[in-house]
């Protein structure tokens, strides 16, 4: 096994493994400190970055961080690596890759072309050498467009997941929250509900209600009930109206076992949903959520830092050509991401790394009450992500998710981003909003027929 060393100032630092280099090079965060993997001093951290800068990218093809034999995520990454796409980068170090990504040579077309040649570990490594502005600048150049009933991710567009959760899954309560979101132009990425009860009957009822709403209003959107993928497969088999199977995923086989999934069951869900042919403009059907720290919390991190493992989760996601992927960046808690600074950095890393691997990345810009963060930090992160070209963000009424007890963005926040950056929702949804007199961009808006909408949503007296 090779060892690595670098001299920073007067001091020489030695690293026994590639995983130790990656962990020490990572910007400070509480989860790596909790795992005992973080740099011991600030100089130690920078020394690890010197090592990374000179490390050939090919090292990541020879040194598996998690053993190939015992981890199907490693096997997926190595077995699907595209050597032809990697060829233009094959002679580069991690530092060279950083310079190339920031150069004009790396445009949208070439970035798309090299993506299959990059492994998650290479992408994690280069992100550790990049400042926040670098993460924004390169992510902005990546273009990842996906389609189901509308087109998500075009330049100049910002989509939103409308998250109308209700603590008792009350269908009328859910409808009121959806109405609130539609009035503010939200919902084109997905109308996605986290159910309070995961029973098959309950999830099917919510799916049917959402589907009826879509049909009644002829809305070019997709819906999702975020229950376990095995339940969604059962719902599909029973004839339920499933647009998008959802699953939380992580970057090691053991952590995915903790989520009750493996690659085979994700493949099964993807095929089952595609076979329904419910998409009108495309057939990207999977919806994945991720978040730094999940493997550590499941005791399945193999001594690897949480950000590198997060990017391996994107390696899982890209095998299924998903419609949507988002990190739930501030949800996991302060023992993994302590404060606003750490959450902001992680949000930018996750977005950049996902985009560079070719994923349609969104971010749940969010926090819990025991994280050292507030709405000002979320304002900063969402504004930076809009500058970085994030595909979608998540919105709940008044920023308060009353079912999951955490704070995400409000519908007004997405409207602020669109106004400030001159962005529009997905083109099909933008046209629908105009038809419904719900469009807000470009001058004073007409008022919609609200009583008619309420009546059709089953909300009238």
């Amino acid at each position: 096994m090779p060892s690595y060393s670098a001299t920073a100032g007067q001091q020489t630092f030695r690293f026994d493994t590639l995983a130790a280099v990656l962990a020490a090079a990572t910007p400070a965060r509480s989860g790596d400190e909790l795992a005992g993997l973080a740099a011991e001093t600030e100089a130690h951290r920078v020394a690890a970055r010197f090592v990374l800068a000179d490390l050939p990218l090919s090292e990541f093809l020879n040194e598996a961080l998690v053993p190939y034999e015992s981890d199907e995520v490693t096997r997926l990454i190595i077995d699907t690596h595209d050597a032809a796409a990697f060829a233009p980068l094959a002679a580069m170090t991690v530092g060279d890759l950083r310079d190339w990504l920031l150069s004009d040579a790396a445009d949208a077309r070439t970035l798309t072309a090299v993506a299959p040649g990059l492994t998650p570990e290479m992408v994690a490594a280069v992100s550790k050498l990049m400042r926040n502005q670098d993460l924004i600048a390169v992510a902005r150049k990546c273009q990842v467009i996906t389609r189901f009933r509308n087109t998500i991710g075009e330049p100049g567009r910002l989509s939103t997941r409308l998250q109308p959760n209700h603590p008792a899954d009350d269908l009328k309560g859910i409808a009121v929250a959806i109405l609130d979101g539609l009035l503010q132009g939200s919902g084109d990425a997905v109308i996605g509900i986290n159910p309070a009860s995961d029973s098959i009957a309950n999830c099917t009822d919510i799916l049917k209600a959402l589907d009826q709403l879509r049909l009644d209003f002829d809305m070019p959107v997709q819906s999702c009930v975020l229950t376990h993928v095995t339940s969604t497969i059962q719902i599909i088999e029973a004839g339920g109206p499933v647009d998008l199977p959802f699953q939380s995923i992580a970057g090691t086989q053991a952590a995915n076992t903790g989520f009750g999934v493996d690659l085979a069951v994700l493949r099964e869900a993807n095929e089952a949903a595609r076979s329904l042919k419910r998409g009108t403009v495309g057939d990207n059907v999977m919806y994945f959520e991720t978040g730094q720290g999940a493997p550590l919390s499941a005791g399945a991190h193999h001594g690897i830092d949480q950000q590198t493992l997060e990017v391996r989760a994107y390696g899982v996601a890209r095998a299924f050509d998903p419609l949507l992927v988002n990190t739930v960046v501030g949800f996991i808690g302060p023992e993994y991401l302590y404060d606003g600074k750490q959450v902001i950095r992680a949000g930018l890393e996750d977005h950049f790394c996902g985009k560079l691997l070719g994923l349609p990345m969104g971010v749940d810009v969010c926090y819990t009450n025991h994280v050292e963060a507030d709405q000002d930090d979320m304002d900063t992160l969402m504004t930076l992500l809009a500058a970085a070209g994030v595909n979608f963000v998540i919105c709940v009424p008044g920023s308060d998710d009353v079912m999951l007890s955490y704070q995400s963005l409000a519908f007004e926040d997405a409207a602020y981003l669109r106004r400030t950056f001159g962005m529009a929702p997905a083109p099909e949804f933008e046209a629908w909003l105009a038809r419904m007199n719900l469009a807000q961009e470009g001058g004073p808006r007409a008022l919609p027929d609200l009583s008619g909408m309420m009546q059709r949503m089953g909300l009238s007296a």
Partner: protein, 260 residues
């Protein structure tokens, strides 16, 4: 209501009935402007209350006085290995362990005959929850379970649920009940949780506990209802010699109680 929003039914806000259908902070305003200042400040107040509940210390003197007024209870004042709130929040592992001095103290206080039930009060993530509700719940439980011997009541600063395992083991108690402040949400910041563990061990998995959560006065479980349920679960645990997934709330019209 803004001046350019036309009422749909003259003289009535058509949305007030809709707002009552969900606890969400729905706005239902078609004008699409920035969030109204009132809503912004309401949100900030809710967040401030939650933050204060997490970061202010519990009023241990008040809790002690309330417990002493119940009569007949010995008290132990203990600490976890997390020396302050900042460490507590960053290091969940330390909040699950008793510090050395506390462990010595519990061992010294262990009665000759092991008690049937060890009750542990830990601040967790809500000082206001334990200050307001914990001693009162102990009073209710004491009355509801007269057949049980209780060890000394342990008050643990900077404690997480699993710190109760160490206390119960040191006391030799086969059953442990931890009353702990739950992570505050925006709408409720003083919610108490109760975790019941049979045969507590060093590495007890959460699936081996029963949890009764949402004990608070803002639409949550009342002391009486929480006590009924906990007394039922305590007796069930003693009969079954187990807690966790095997132990259910199967009272008539009851609901399933999930593991903590």
């Amino acid at each position: 209501m803004t001046d350019h929003q036309r009422p749909i039914t003259p003289g009535a806000d058509p949305f007030s009935r809709l707002r009552a259908m969900t606890p969400s902070r729905v706005r239902l305003d078609a004008t699409g402007n920035a969030a109204p200042l009132q809503a912004v400040l309401d949100f900030q107040l809710s967040h401030a209350r939650a933050r204060d509940a997490i970061h202010q210390p519990a009023d241990w003197a008040q809790i002690t006085a309330d417990l002493e007024s119940l009569g007949g209870l010995d008290l132990l004042h203990l600490k976890s290995r997390a020396e302050d709130r900042m460490v507590y929040i960053r290091r969940p592992d330390l909040g699950r362990q008793l510090d050395d001095g506390s462990l010595t103290e519990v061992r010294a206080a262990a009665p000759a005959t092991p008690p049937d039930l060890a009750i542990v009060i830990a601040d967790g993530l809500s000082a206001s929850a334990v200050t307001t509700h914990a001693a009162r719940m102990v009073g209710h439980l004491k009355d509801a379970l007269p057949e049980l011997t209780l060890g000394p009541i342990a008050l643990v600063r900077e404690g997480r649920v699993a710190v109760g395992d160490a206390v119960a083991m040191a006391l030799g108690a086969p059953l442990c009940l931890v009353l702990i402040g739950e992570r505050p949400g925006l709408s409720v910041s003083d919610s108490l949780g109760a975790y019941l563990t049979w045969n507590p061990q060093a590495e007890t998995p959460d699936s081996s506990r029963n949890c009764v959560s949402n004990i608070h006065g803002n639409g949550g479980l009342s002391y009486a209802d929480a006590t009924d349920l906990l007394a039922y679960l305590v007796r069930g645990a003693r009969n079954l010699q187990a807690t966790g997934v095997a132990l259910k709330d199967d009272r008539p019209k009851g609901k399933l109680i999930g593991e903590g």
